[in-house]
Amino acid sequence: MIDSRNFSFANSGDKIASMVVHGVSALGLIVMVFILWFLFAEGIPVLKSVTIGDIFRSSDWYPAEEPPALGMFAIISGTLIVTLLSSLIALPVSYLFAIFTAEIAPSWLRNILKPMLELLGFLPSIVLGFLGMVVVAPWMQGSFEILTGLNLLNASIFLGIMILPIVGSLVEEALSSIPEELRYASFALGATKWETISKVVFPAALPGILSASLLGIMRSMGETMVVLMVAGGAAIIPDSIFDPIRPLTSTIAAEMGETPVGSAHYHALFFAGLLLFLITLALNMLSAWIESKGKIAQQ
């Protein structure tokens, strides 16, 4: 009697747990679908006022004029360029940091460096933006004799600082997860430490490193506060790294509050959001694909 009661209780416990898990994951999926649907529903109507060719080809972003000019070329390039430059700054630094922490540093130093890096990741982006605005921008303007210290380079540096902890600690984990036996095998064959890292450990961790990098790039692309404060906000295609830019994110953040609901400008901002979403979705899928390829290669 007791046994069978326990048994059925255990069974229903399983059922409840499985229902909860399925329910929660279904909820996540539903929210996702709604966001996508909402972005499309609010973004696509912009095509009533402007052609898709104009959006992607024209750099004229004067949304408050009548009729509004909604060319996003400069804004889209702003996003792509600042993402590229910040990645160029942050990714090599992250790799070197991770290699040093995981492979070279003695354990006491590792125990200091890892938490420090994670702490950097806890810095609110507005604090970084503030630093860029009141410390780096005036200094840059003064020492390079440029028009404004709020520019592409400044924004890229601070975006880089933002993604450094993410990429750094994920790459560090990817390197640490490579079994010690592989390192010993390499050392026993007469390889130096550096040869072992560059020829065995790094290649073996490559799928993890690539997906960490893509995660950092996505983060850099989606970041709003730093670029809103530090990038300068001019919707132009930059000629140099000292020119101000205006990425998609800060455009949405700065203008959404001031635009009438349902106007062409309003729809254009949602369209910008839709673009961001699609780009990050593509990067995400790329990263998942790389990871699955890495798993197959390791089997």
Partner: protein, 262 residues
């Protein structure tokens, strides 16, 4: 103490001469003043219960204990006429002359070809034909060529456990070392794979001096020419394998071999 020269005859040359070697891990003395000679192109088995120091001794021979922060050695190991614990020793060069095979097969996550070509490439072999040749002869030497020649580009990690271990042997002999160290190379393998590796070891000793750590007494009896019995960091007995397994000099050896402890 042991008479070091007892077993040397005219046709056997000393390959590794260990003199009064001690190894410490921090305060622990894990190898206690051992001295003996390992002979060229012989299979020498190191046996003894867990924690007796046999694996630690093996790692002294290619200085893999250098990676253990607390490890410290005293005494001498002379290989090819020079003390490997001398300050002037080039550890990289030393490890190139001494191949090592580990307990668990540990092929690199690269193709079979790249696994074997790894060390030759490190030492500057760039010529494709030369590499092809080295890969082929090493895989043949490890009795793996016939099974993999059609799939050299596939991952080494895709092979079976026994094949992986033979790949690791091929990788270790690709630099044409003098000595091959094996740390319980069959302990993770099934009986058939173990048998193949044992056959292979008998082949390998024609070209290399093999030092093998094993937990398996029958294995030591089957494949080795000399056997060293370690106990609690001491070298209790070192003898010709036949003698060791039929009429050991030391009471403790007999007890261990007959399974009374360990």
């Amino acid at each position: 103490m042991l008479n070091i020269n007892k077993h040397s005859s005219n046709d056997t040359k000393i390959q590794i001469e260990t003199k009064d070697l001690s190894l410490y891990y921090g305060q622990d003395k894990v190898i206690k003043n051992i001295s003996f000679n390992i002979y060229e192109r012989m299979v020498t088995a190191l046996i003894g219960p867990s924690g007796c120091g046999k694996s630690s001794y093996l790692r002294c021979l290619n200085r893999m204990n250098d990676f253990i922060q607390e490890a410290r050695t005293e005494g001498e190991i002379t290989i090819n006429g020079s003390n490997i614990y001398d300050k002037a020793t080039d550890v990289i060069e030393l490890r190139r002359k001494i191949g090592m095979v580990f307990q668990k097969p540990n092929p690199f996550p690269m193709s079979i070809y790249e696994n074997v070509a790894y060390a030759p490439r490190l030492f500057g072999v760039k010529d494709r034909e030369k590499l092809d040749e080295i890969v082929k002869s090493s895989l043949e030497g490890a009795a793996l060529w016939d099974e993999v020649y059609g799939k050299l580009k596939t991952p080494g990690t895709g092979l079976s456990g026994g094949q992986q271990q033979r790949l690791c042997i091929a990788r270790a002999i690709a630099t044409e070392p003098d000595i091959l160290l094996m740390d319980e190379p069959t302990s993770a393998l099934d009986p058939l794979s173990t048998l193949r590796i044992e056959e292979l070891i008998r082949e390998l000793k024609k070209k290399f001096t093999v030092v093998i750590v094993t937990h398996n007494m029958q294995q030591a009896a089957r494949i080795s020419d000399y056997t060293a019995f370690f106990l609690l960091g001491d070298l209790v007995e070192y003898n010709v394998t036949n003698k060791m397994f039929t009429s050991p000099d030391d009471r403790r050896t007999e007890d261990y071999i007959t399974g009374r402890f360990g």
